[in-house]
């Protein structure tokens, strides 16, 4: 395997990748605004699957944006944790898109999205143990070789943990990043959501990930369902998540920071203003991270998890879907 692709930079912070500043996730709802106003955003993150097959307006818009801004590709279908074989056609298209848009790096999630040929289109957790680690590390290495660049993997929000897990999230992320020689995308909102859902200490999580491997941060809003949090990306970043971001910024020395807003998407300036709030949390004059934030969680729930109606489950309200959809509605006359 071609180790020269990543190894020389592994000793550098962020694998030697640049700190792009404060970016915004590219969403179809903002295409027209961006093309008209060319807002002063540092960079954009594009959902790979929205563009890799596009021969229409989405791809046209991405190409225009890539002419003016740094682009990072963020995927949701790599399925690095799945026991199904890697999808080589997908990887070929991903590499082509990255080459054509001069993507600064490619990221996806530490998850699986389906098995036995199916795709649930969700970011599902794996048991965190030695077998999973071996499997994921081997796949990251294979992917990095195909893509000819380091892969950056994100900690997803999770809603279950497994009896077969023998490692914490941060222990798994640390060993995975070192053994596969890959980067990390630390989603501080996901740290908060998962830590709350699993009764962990979110600040401990941030303190224990390998800081030099963190290439990028994600920020987002979530939904408090009373008994658990869901990663809905539908609102402002809450203060405890900003506190985690402040801590992560201090510990890593700073990294490219991106705001995700995927449901109830407001006008572009509102989304942009939200990520600019990060500046307040980068100042050395600010007090450091004080105490672990404790979200308000009720217990236990009285509602059953799924209410079958006429043999079919009652769909959860759309505001409670984690990992929101990325679908571009057509423009038609």
């Amino acid at each position: 395997m071609n180790r020269s692709l990543t190894s020389p930079n592994a000793a550098l912070p962020r694998l030697g990748l640049p700190n792009l500043g404060l970016g915004v996730g590219l969403r179809a709802a903002h295409f027209s605004h961006i093309l008209e106003h060319w807002p002063a955003v540092d960079w954009f993150e594009a959902i790979s699957e929205n563009f890799m097959d596009s021969q229409g307006r989405p791809r046209y818009v991405l190409d225009r944006i890539a002419e003016r801004y740094p682009i990072v590709l963020h995927g949701v279908s790599l399925s690095i944790g799945s026991r199904d074989p890697l999808n080589l056609e997908y990887l070929r298209k991903l590499k082509k898109l990255a080459d054509e848009t001069a993507a600064r790096w490619i990221s996806d999630h530490l998850c699986w999205t389906g098995v036995a040929g199916r795709n649930t289109h969700d970011l599902l957790p794996i048991p965190l143990n030695e077998e999973s680690l071996r499997h994921v590390v081997a796949r990251i290495r294979a992917v990095q070789e195909i893509l000819e660049r380091p892969l950056v993997l994100e900690n997803p929000s999770t809603y279950v943990t497994f009896a077969d897990s023998t490692m914490s999230d941060w222990e798994f992320l640390t060993r995975m990043a070192e053994e596969a020689d890959c980067g990390l995308l630390l989603d501080v909102n996901n740290v908060y959501v998962s830590s709350t859902n699993h009764d962990w200490d979110a600040a401990e999580y941030v303190r224990r990930v390998p800081h030099r491997r963190v290439v990028q941060f994600h920020l987002a809003g979530h939904t408090n369902c009373g008994t658990h949090l869901i990663d809905t990306h539908d609102g402002e970043v809450i203060d405890p998540v900003w506190a985690l971001y402040r801590l992560a910024h201090e510990l890593t020395g700073g990294a490219s920071t991106l705001l995700e807003w995927d449901a109830k998407i407001p006008a572009f300036p509102v989304v942009h203003a939200e990520v600019l709030k990060a500046k307040r949390h980068m100042s050395a004059a600010l007090p450091g991270f004080a105490a672990s934030p404790q979200p308000r969680i009720q217990k236990p729930s009285t509602a059953p998890a799924a209410i079958p109606i006429a043999g079919l489950p009652l769909a959860a309200p759309s505001e409670a879907i984690g990992q929101p959809l990325h679908f571009v509605p057509p423009e038609v006359r």
Partner: protein, 323 residues
């Protein structure tokens, strides 16, 4: 499989020493969270039992509980999101079918569809690919008394199939190949073809041109629904969702400047373009149009001239070939 799940399950009292194989955990979880009747039914399903034979009471041996939620409730977060997410996607791809059917009926069809044709693609863009086909396959064929009473034609479900085909094709044209960076055949180029070669010419349609034949006037219905959607709240258009009477209609879809455009066609226009689509010569295409036409030969000649002028202006033709 490396070992039987029963063997493996007996080792579970020592997590980490001999954890379940990852593929069994994944098969189990996928079966559980995608089961249409919910998590408990998913755990009891044959597919889940074949991977990890635990009962709903024992599920903590696979998925641990939190302080606030038990294991089944936690799996339920994924189970609820699975259908909710994909239903939302189908509603985005088929917004007018969804509005026409109403939320409950649309969701009923969409849930059936997701079970029969679960996603096997890395992209959600493919999720609705077989929805119109599914609606057609499951369409009731017996006369429906309630529909008859409501003044509907007995084959009104075909209207929904047609509408789904239209909405799906709109999306395909929107994101498929187009003519934005290419020059199609110009009117001058057609005019310059010598008459003796013209009849043997074959016109290749632009890759964004799609021809659709419907049993119902769904394009007009689509226009009306979009007008309702776009109308001012202060000046709403009356919401008339009545299903129209059956009538064979023809539509071409194309794209200009990345916007999908719809062109209602007369029957001979459709016959002409469909002949080109299947590779026919101009002579054969005109014969096909004439067969479906109540115009005189002279009138048809005038009409053809106008049609070719309009279609070349709208970049309908990618190239001209001669044998």
């Amino acid at each position: 499989m490396p070992q039987s799940s029963a063997q493996n399950d007996s080792a579970e009292s020592q997590p980490g020493v001999n954890p379940r194989p990852l593929d069994l955990v994944e098969r189990w979880m996928q079966s559980v969270i995608t089961h249409p009747a919910g998590v408990a039914a998913g755990i009891a399903s044959d597919a889940a039992q074949a991977a990890i034979p635990v009962s709903p009471d024992e599920v903590e041996r696979v998925v641990t509980r939190s302080q606030a939620l038990d294991s089944i409730e936690r799996l339920g977060v994924y189970a609820n999101a699975y259908y909710a997410r994909l239903l939302e996607c189908l509603r985005d791809v088929f917004p007018i079918v969804a509005r026409t059917l109403g939320e409950e009926l649309f969701d009923h069809f969409a849930l059936g569809y997701l079970q029969k044709y679960p996603s096997q693609s890395y992209t959600l863009c493919e999720l609705g690919a077989r929805f119109a086909q599914f609606l057609d396959e499951t369409r009731p064929t017996e006369p429906d008394a309630a529909a008859a009473e409501a003044g509907l034609s007995p084959d009104w479900p075909r209207f929904v199939v047609d509408l789904a085909r239209l909405e799906w094709t709109v999306g395909q044209v929107y994101d498929g190949p187009g003519m934005e960076n290419r020059q199609g055949v110009l009117a001058d180029a057609l005019a310059a073809i010598p008459p003796d070669r013209w009849l043997a010419a074959r016109l290749q349609l632009a890759p964004c041109v799609r021809l659709l034949l419907f049993r119902y006037p769904v394009n007009d219905f689509y226009t009306k629904m979009r007008a309702i959607d776009r109308a001012d709240d202060d000046d709403p258009i009356e919401d008339d969702l009545a299903i129209p009477r059956p009538e064979e209609t023809y539509v071409a879809l194309s794209r200009r400047d990345y916007v999908v455009r719809r062109y209602p066609l007369a029957k001979p226009q459709y016959a002409l373009l469909a002949a080109f689509e299947s590779g026919a010569t101009v002579e054969a295409a005109i014969a096909a149009a004439a067969a479906d036409c109540d115009l005189s030969d002279d009138e048809l000649a005038v009409a053809l001239h106008r049609w070719f002028a309009d279609w070349t202006a709208d970049q309908f033709f990618l190239s001209v070939a001669f044998d």
